[in-house]
């Protein structure tokens, strides 16, 4: 079985500056991999190369064993992407947004399916027929997660998914992501939240200045030690 996500000696230049430098990692099916790093570390750029928006200057990125540059559409169809501060359409309701994006993905869903997904992300029923412009950030994020659920893709890319969420919403989100991984979905999450990453990730990669400078794994069913990762993160950031 092909590896869902793989970066092979990935390097990326933007406007003459090195954004990623020889980054390699693989993420197996059902695994949650958190890419941790400060601002400008290259986290979001890594996600965008998997989506084909940025082309590696060296190395390659592979989705399900195939180079993204060979078939961007195939790579994207295997991936549900949740951008930072997911911005769905404010003038449309949750139902309308989800219908629109699912149609766009070529996977139309009926009202029952949408309700089931919104139940999973615990979006209040009364809110579902309201326009998103009246939603809190957490509610918008839940709607975007529901979209990712409904697409039923084998891979999920999350860009700072808990940024701006309250602690309760973060816990709910973590539970949801874990459930998805347990269902076999491969999850690549980029974040600067050390605690959150250690809470749910099977592995954490530490990215700094475009280089993968550290890697931490959960051993024997234990969580990754937050203190260790935080120390490494802080050391690297201040180095």
């Amino acid at each position: 079985m092909a590896i869902p996500l793989e970066a092979r000696s990935l390097s990326l230049l933007r406007a003459g500056n090195s954004v990623l430098d020889d980054v390699s990692f693989t993420i197996n099916a059902g695994e949650i991999f958190a890419l941790l790093g400060g601002n400008g570390a290259g986290k979001s750029s890594t996600l965008l190369t998997f989506l084909g928006f940025l082309e590696p200057s060296n190395g390659d990125v592979l989705v399900n064993g195939s180079s993204v540059r060979n078939d961007i559409a195939a790579a994207r169809s295997a991936i549900a992407y949740l951008p930072e501060s997911a911005s769905l359409y404010g003038h449309m309701t949750a139902y309308e947004n989800l219908s629109y994006f699912l149609d766009l993905a070529g996977k139309p869903a009926n009202r029952e399916d949408i309700d089931a997904a919104l139940d999973k992300v615990a979006l209040a029923e009364e809110a579902r027929t309201r326009r998103l412009q009246s939603y809190s950030k957490g509610m918008r994020q839940k709607t975007a997660i529901a979209l990712a659920l409904l697409r039923e893709t084998p891979i999920l890319l999350l860009d700072e998914p808990t940024s701006g969420l309250d602690p309760v919403a973060i816990d709910e989100f973590h539970d949801l992501v874990k459930a998805l991984a347990n269902n076999g979905q491969t999850i690549l999450m980029v974040t600067h939240d050390v605690y959150g990453a250690c809470q749910i990730a099977d592995r954490v990669g530490l990215l700094r200045g475009g280089k993968l400078v550290g890697s931490f794994s959960a051993e024997n069913g234990e969580r990754i030690d937050t203190e260790t990762v935080h120390a490494a993160f802080a050391e690297r950031e201040t180095a």
């Binding site: 994207r76 992407y81 951008p83 911005s87 769905l88 359409y89 629109y100 993905a105 070529g106």
Partner: protein
Amino acid sequence: MFRHMTREIRFLAKDRGALFWLLLAFTLSVIAVSFGVTEVREQRETIAALIKEDASDRANALKGQEEWGSAAYYAFHFTYAPPSDFAFAAMGQRDSSPWKHRIRMLALEGQIHEADTRNANFGLVGRFDFAFLIASVAPLLLILLLYDLRAAERTSRRHDLLVATAGYSLAIWFPRAFVRIAALTILLLLPLWSAALIEGTSLTITLQASGIAMAALLIWWIIVEWVNRIDASPSILLTSLIGLWLALAIIVPAISKAVIETNNPVPDGGEILLLQRETVNGAWDLPKDATMKPFIAQHPELRDYAKIDGPWAWKWYYAFQQVGDQKVAPLAQQYRKARLERDRQADLAAFLSPTSFAERAFEKLAGTDTRAMIVYEDAVRGFHSELRAFYYPLMFPEAQYNPALLNNLPNYVPPS
């Protein structure tokens, strides 16, 4: 693709901003077409009323006449270029060139050029007709509908999510733009089609006009699409597109017009009128031979009747009227030729401006272009020649006046 289109139709139905511009487009189209239909109907009514009055006026004028010369002098004849059944869409040169005259047997060129245009002010500012709407206003509406298609999504940080979800860019931007342009085109054309049905415009002309409108909008779509590829904010894109519109719709046509007019000087209609009047008025003081010689050169069949014995004769009077025409003929010819040359060059220059191209194409279809107006002037000249051909054989031999022969007066037939 059908799936993408239905999705974007539903999306458009929820976009209030886009719906506003589309509603405005429909309203403007209704107004433009209504103006055109009203104007054409007024012109037809004017023509019908004048045709009716023309016959009775002439009958009154001819009543009691005793000479062919005085009959020809007092009898006016109404000439006109009727609006085509598509003129409501593009009034074109009908606003700046006369489309009706009352002429008589006197020197003709002055009569053609002394006629005022009915709406000289429109010749200056232009008319809000369908051709203007499609050529100049519709591109602005199209820009407003499309300029931020990508940029607004980038600003809202939704662009990557949309493209990643769709799989490829074309799956979202093409149907989204296409649906808007299709809606704009249909809403602009609906009033035109309705008016075409009411006015009895042929299907061929209606289809051709629809094709021109679609082609004009397609060209602007390509322009907007090309600019929209620039990774810039919506305001910068809008400014750039408005700048391009200004250049292509106003500046390029204005420069082309200035260059064409400078390179092709056209004598003023007033010059023709003045020269002819000077010639005609001057003839009173010239020896009669000075008039009759050049006249007979044109009408050798009347040589035997060219001798003028007394101080006055109608045939001498009409001879110097014709010599007045002969005198200004080179100027009138130059005027005609230069207008046609300007028109030909304007056709070529229109390739630089989609606005000019669409407007001129509509005028050609509507028969309101420069060539159509020259065809009308030629029809007036032809009719005037028929009048001369009717009167000269009676007037020059000084035949007995016989009102019954007036039934054989030529009838003006407008150009079709």
